[in-house]
């Protein structure tokens, strides 16, 4: 079973990101579970959501403490103490940042892969919501699900122009990262 933790701020579509990733896993025939760490949500406040993907039914409902992967939707969250705590030693961090992966890794002393997801979202969807770009990049990096599964999940949630724009955004975001860079990590995490 693979466990993923998604960090963001209220308004960035953190829960939607978790639900989309889980829905994509379902579309690919897996079992899935996604839920937010429930707080008194308000715009701008730090929020967390969890995703589990498995070949077999998922029984536990505890919060994900030791994720294989983290998706961070807002780099200012890195100032929060302990944000990346619990990440598995061979895990991966995907972050939304205009900086290059090298720059941001050096700045925070931890290896991360960065994409400018907010700018990509503004360019394609017209709104600064980085979730879809990050999910698409995540699938490209890990290869855990085909892009078609995310497309189906997006199709369930959006329609018309909004769907087209999000699909274009997903396509652009996938091209911004190295395909299968984390495939070994992902295979190990799923085992």
């Amino acid at each position: 079973m693979m466990e993923i933790r998604i960090h963001g701020r209220g308004g960035q579509g953190n829960v939607v990101a978790a639900y989309l990733l889980a829905s994509a896993a379902f579309e690919d025939g897996r079992y899935c579970q996604a839920f937010p760490a429930f707080g008194a949500e308000r715009r701008g406040a730090p929020v967390v959501a969890f995703v589990r993907v498995s070949e077999t039914p998922i029984l536990q409902r505890n919060e994900v403490r030791t994720p294989s992967f983290m998706i961070i939707q807002d780099e200012t969250l890195l100032h929060e103490k302990g944000l990346t705590d619990g990440l598995k030693p061979d895990g991966g961090i995907l972050i939304n940042s205009p900086l290059s992966s090298e720059e941001i890794s050096e700045r925070h002393g931890a290896k991360m892969t960065a994409i400018p997801a907010t700018q990509m979202a503004i360019d394609n969807v017209g709104r600064p919501v980085p979730n879809v770009a990050l999910l698409s990049a995540f699938l490209e990096l890990t290869g855990i699900l085909p892009h078609g599964a995310l497309k189906k999940a997006l199709d369930e949630r959006f329609s018309g122009h909004l769907l087209d724009n999000n699909l274009r955004l997903a396509h652009q975001a996938a091209k911004a990262v190295t395909k299968d860079l984390w495939k070994e990590k992902a295979d190990a995490a799923s085992a």
């Binding site: 829960v15 978790a18 639900y19 889980a22 829905s23 896993a25 379902f26 579309e27 079992y31 899935c32 579970q33 996604a34 839920f35 937010p36 429930f38 008194a40 998922i58 029984l59 536990q60 409902r61 505890n62 919060e63 403490r65």
Partner: protein, 390 residues
């Protein structure tokens, strides 16, 4: 059809499948998404029902009482303080023996103010006369809701379907939504014999003097006890049509020859099951999910505990000044058993505290080293309290 759905949306879809005549509810976290989704189904034309927006939970409960008394299939949902505000009406609904279904999206009761999950709200309604079914996962929340109407309409008792707030209501997972034609077969249109009908007037809710009150209460108690086979039957019939069940009155998992059992209600069951699978030795241990808490399934529970030497009752509520609620009841029931197990009782996961995967191992460890108390708030960190409060 199997779908990846948020629990609340799945429950709203299940409500629609039951073709309610009247829905009235007031939004409260974490029940809100259920009501929102029902109102969306109505707005989209996918559900034909009289959806009544009200100004409080007291009114919501009153509207569904009136509707159900007039013979309509009625639905409401609430949580926590909302259930508290409904309390007076909930006792009336049960006392008047009016059938209906309510989903309780379980949440702690303040103070201290807390929006997160535990089961103190439905436990506070323990003596209201409602049948109470607890759901281990979202599939059970859907299936139990559909079963609840059948149970309610056969017994003329109201049914409260309890699902852990957030932990189930806000979790997206794979859920099978039953087909409408099968639900229609399972749940034929309901004709309430005692319905309020202007063309054939009867009185409902008359003043009952001491001359009859005791008899009324006796018959309410008897009706609850007689509902036990109806609850089992509803689950069996459900399985015939839909191929799955909820375990009837309780579900068991693990070693049939178990000498140690851990009993719980609601979604902790899944986390304990996963913890059990990850545990090095699973021999002689089993888990019990007490699905039906009211009426209390004494006989089935006694049978499940045959051969068990140590029982750990895990609950998500407590009675301050006494200890566990479910644990205390089980001790009372076991007082007539030939060889009763030792009962250890813990409250965990209060006010939304995360129940980690290793809880199963920690409970067994505490049992083994004798540190498990007769009752404790097991996951409380006493070092954070002043000396005199420990």
């Amino acid at each position: 059809m199997r779908q990846a759905l948020e629990g609340s949306l799945a429950v709203a879809k299940a409500v629609a499948l039951c073709r309610p005549g009247v829905v009235a509810a007031y939004p409260i976290t974490p029940q809100t998404h259920i009501v929102e989704n029902i109102s969306k189904l109505v707005a989209d034309g996918d559900l034909e029902t009289e959806l009544v927006s009200v100004e409080s939970e007291f009114s919501a409960a009153s509207v569904v009482l009136g509707a159900a008394a007039a013979g309509s299939r009625a639905y409401t949902a609430s949580s926590s303080q909302g259930i508290m505000l409904m309390a007076e009406v909930l006792f009336n609904i049960a006392g008047l023996r009016v059938p209906m279904v309510l989903t309780c999206a379980n949440r702690a009761i303040g103070a201290p103010l807390n929006i997160w999950n535990d089961q103190s709200d439905s436990m506070a309604m323990r003596d209201s006369g409602w049948i109470q079914l607890y759901c281990a996962d979202n599939q059970e929340a859907v299936d139990s809701l559909i079963q609840a109407y059948r149970i309610s309409e056969r017994t003329e008792l109201p049914v409260m379907v309890c699902m852990d707030g957030f932990i189930l209501t806000h979790t997206l997972e794979v859920i099978d939504i039953p087909e409408q034609d099968k639900v229609d077969r399972y749940l034929p249109p309901f004709a309430f014999d005692r319905r309020l009908d202007p063309s054939d007037p009867i009185s409902l809710g008359a003043l009952v003097t001491p001359e009859f009150f005791s008899e009324v209460k006796h018959s309410q108690h008897a009706a609850m006890q007689k509902a036990l086979p109806d609850i089992v039957d509803a689950d069996k019939e459900f399985k015939k049509l839909f191929g799955r069940d909820c375990g009837g009155l309780l579900a068991e998992h693990g070693d049939e020859e178990a000498t140690v059992a851990i009993l719980t209600l609601g979604s902790i069951y899944g986390t304990l099951r996963a913890g059990m699978e990850a545990h090095k030795s699973r021999k002689k241990v089993k888990l019990i999910h007490l699905r039906c808490f009211r009426p209390f399934p004494e006989e089935v529970l006694m049978a499940a505990l045959d051969g068990v030497k140590d029982l750990i009752v895990v609950e998500r509520a407590l009675s301050p000044g006494l200890g566990g609620i479910v644990g205390t009841e089980i001790r009372a029931v076991l007082s007539t058993a030939r060889k009763p197990p030792r009962v250890h009782n813990v409250a965990i996961g209060l006010g939304g505290r995360d129940v980690p995967l290793d809880m199963f191992s920690r409970l067994l460890e505490a049992l083994k080293n004798g540190s498990i108390a007769e009752f404790s708030v097991f996951d409380a960190d006493l070092s954070r309290l002043p000396e005199e409060d420990r």
